[in-house]
């Protein structure tokens, strides 16, 4: 009896830090955000409760356009990261020798060794009108006047893809790694050509990794701030920028909180759709990769 109590106590003590972490750092802030987002400012230091902040969002095309733009560009980044990441992951998992593997993984890690800010400035140095790339093209005689590569959506996408690549590659490598090489050989042996084997065997097998990589990359991209701000051009609005502006420049914490909740809802819905379309479950993808 005593021992049973003791064991229960031990279990509670073991579980406590995790529960505290979830409650204090995830649950409470979100509840606070929801409460804040439902508050309307009617006069200085006077507030009422209601959905005005959400109505504001719906009534102002700038806001939901920015959200849709952020969403679609994040999807594009996710797709590109997958397109580039898949062959790289396949090479690392299936073709590279043990030593090259380590080196390649390390290479993928390099972008994460420096902060977001430094990374963005790196791209700026490279791509600006008087930057490395433009100068090189002029020197090589390919163009005869400086070219501005910076400050447009393409740059934002490149910068984001570069940043999130590792988060796509890691889950892909770990699922592909678990795939028996003979599965691929069997695919060929039974009459499949390269494309069939890729489409019917490798991709379905790697699906959990693909989906979990996409989820992480999409979330990271939609929630990124510095890269789109620093590399983006005059028209490159990003939804996190709107949230920042609401909180910091406009002192409108209520709207900022509402926007934050909306971003969370939006990304959750996109991910839910993605899971439905790919026929995966969250547990399946997270457990497998």
């Amino acid at each position: 009896m005593l021992q049973k109590d003791f064991r229960r106590l031990a279990l509670i003590l073991l579980f406590a830090p995790f529960a505290l972490w979830i409650i204090l750092l995830i649950l409470l802030p979100h509840i606070g955000m929801i409460a804040l987002s439902l508050r309307e400012k009617v006069a200085p230091r006077v507030y009422e409760y209601g959905f005005a902040n959400y109505m504001d969002f719906l009534n102002e095309p700038i806001y939901w356009n920015t959200l849709l733009r952020t969403g679609s560009m994040s999807l594009l980044v996710t797709a590109l990261a997958l397109l580039i990441g898949f062959p790289v992951a396949y090479y690392i998992a299936k073709l590279a020798g043990n030593r090259t593997r380590g080196a390649l993984f390390l290479l993928c890690l390099i972008p994460l060794w420096v902060s977001d800010l430094i990374r963005a400035y790196g791209w700026i140095l490279l791509l600006r009108e008087t930057g490395v790339l433009s100068s090189f093209l002029q020197w090589a005689g390919i163009v005869d006047h400086p070219i501005e590569f910076l400050y447009n959506d393409v740059t934002v996408v490149i910068g984001l893809v570069y940043t999130v690549m590792l988060f796509m590659i890691v889950p892909l490598v770990s699922t592909l790694d678990g795939m028996d090489n003979s599965m691929i050989e069997a695919g060929y042996n039974l009459g499949g050509n390269g494309f069939t084997v890729l489409r019917r065997i490798i991709i379905p097998y790697a699906m959990p990794g693909i989906v979990s990589g996409c989820i992480v990359v999409f979330m990271l991209t939609a929630g990124s701030y510095l890269t789109p701000i620093l590399l983006g051009g005059k028209n490159s609005s990003w939804f996190t920028e709107q949230i920042y502006n609401q909180f910091i420049s406009r002192f409108n914490w209520e709207a900022g909180a509402a926007f934050g909740i909306l971003l969370l809802l939006f990304t959750s819905i996109v991910i839910w759709l993605g899971l439905k379309l790919s026929g995966q479950t969250l547990a399946n993808t997270v457990a497998k990769s």
Binding site: S182, A186, Y188, N189, L190, N193, T196, P204, Y205
Partner: protein
């Protein structure tokens, strides 16, 4: 052309190296239609490489591979009508049984209705008519085995390669599957090439067995030939159990004579494989345990006359294994000799008893030692 279509597979002097390692050093063989052919060898002998060359995953450095008389060099694996059952089966876990079997048909562009008929037909033939909709992880080990074979057989291959597919099964199931594989081969009447390092699998199932060692075929023959008439010392040692002595020939008439082992035992032998062995040659002599009679020293007089070799010793221990029980006898010169005995449970030999061992010179197979041949 001398090609006769009676051979499903012909390999002509094929060789393959990986860097400095010569995995396969010039192997030639023909396999007649509809036979069960095994390639038996220790791990690392090159048998997997040989099989991968037949399947098309590796290209031979020299030589030619012909299937139904046509060279397949340069033909990619998906264009060869050679199917393969992999060591761990390589069933596709993301497809159910039906899709696994239908995969190859779909690759060949077979119509849906026909696919359905063919899959059900093949499932019928492997006696698993109801598993089409099951997921792979819901199958037992033996069922998976049969599905892996069905997945290949539904494509009517000229040759089916099997890469130690029984290795992962437990002993009981493995025994059952040996028989089943043989029956399936009969039923489909397709040439099976079975790769294994387990001699009992090879001997039980095969029409012909090739013994492979260090990239070469040592001998090709029926299981009985290999067992009773090995042509090389390696085959004699590798196939079945043997007691083995090294020694020098004292007297020889070419096909037989007397040898003195390194321990000083005089033995009458027969030269194996129709060889002639001259006096003074260093040799190895193999005697299988089942051909050695063990008799208590007190009863040694009533021994059959043809057992022209005799040795005295003391029972060291008994290895009880039912019908396959053995006795270990330590000779007066210190070596241990294995002999089969029948243990009845009454009046059996006991450790410490003095015994005589008898065997016939016809069962003492003698080979020139490696390197001196």
């Amino acid at each position: 052309m001398t090609n006769t279509p009676t051979y499903d597979l012909e390999c002509i002097d094929i060789a393959k190296s990986f860097g400095a390692v010569r995995a396969v050093k010039g192997v030639s063989f023909n396999i007649p239609s509809g036979s069960f052919f095994s390639i038996l060898g220790p791990s690392g002998c090159g048998k997997t490489t040989l099989m991968r060359m037949i399947a098309g995953f590796e290209e031979p450095a020299s030589g030619d591979i012909r299937i139904k008389g046509r060279s397949v060099l340069g033909t990619p694996p998906n264009k060869r009508n050679v199917k393969m059952v992999f060591q761990h089966l390589a069933l596709f876990p993301m497809m159910n049984v039906f899709e696994n079997i239908a995969y190859g048909l779909r690759c060949n562009g077979v119509k849906n209705a026909e696919i359905k008929a063919k899959v059900h037909d093949v499932l019928e033939r492997i006696a698993l008519p109801d598993v089409a909709e099951r997921e792979i992880h819901q199958l037992s080990g033996g069922q998976k085995q049969r599905i892996a074979i069905a997945r290949c057989m539904v494509l009517d291959p000229d040759v089916l390669l099997l890469d130690e597919p029984l290795g992962a099964l437990d002993l009981k199931l493995r025994e059952a599957m040996k028989i089943e594989l043989k029956q399936l081969q009969h039923q489909f009447n397709t040439t099976f090439i079975y790769i294994t390092h387990d001699q009992s699998e090879a001997l039980v199932m095969s029409d012909h067995v090739a013994i492979m060692n260090q990239g070469l075929f040592e001998q090709i023959g029926t299981p009985q030939e290999l067992y009773h008439h090995p042509e090389t010392a390696f085959v004699a040692g590798f196939v079945g159990d043997s007691n083995r002595w090294s020694g020098k020939v004292k007297a020889s008439d070419g096909s037989g004579g007397t040898v003195e082992t390194d321990q000083g035992l005089q033995m009458v032998f027969t030269a194996a494989g129709g060889r002639t062995i001259a006096e003074g040659t260093a040799v190895e002599v193999f005697v299988r345990p089942e051909f050695i009679h063990t008799v208590r020293r007190t009863e040694a007089d009533g021994v059959p006359g043809e057992a022209d070799n005799r040795m005295d010793g003391v029972v060291d221990s008994l290895l009880f294994n039912g019908a396959n029980s053995r006795v270990l006898v330590r000779s007066s010169r210190g070596e241990l000799i294995e002999a089969d005995v029948t243990l009845t449970g009454h009046g059996d030999l006991k450790p410490g008893e003095e015994v005589c061992l008898f065997w016939s010179s016809r069962q003492a197979m003698c080979f020139p030692s490696e390197g001196s041949a």
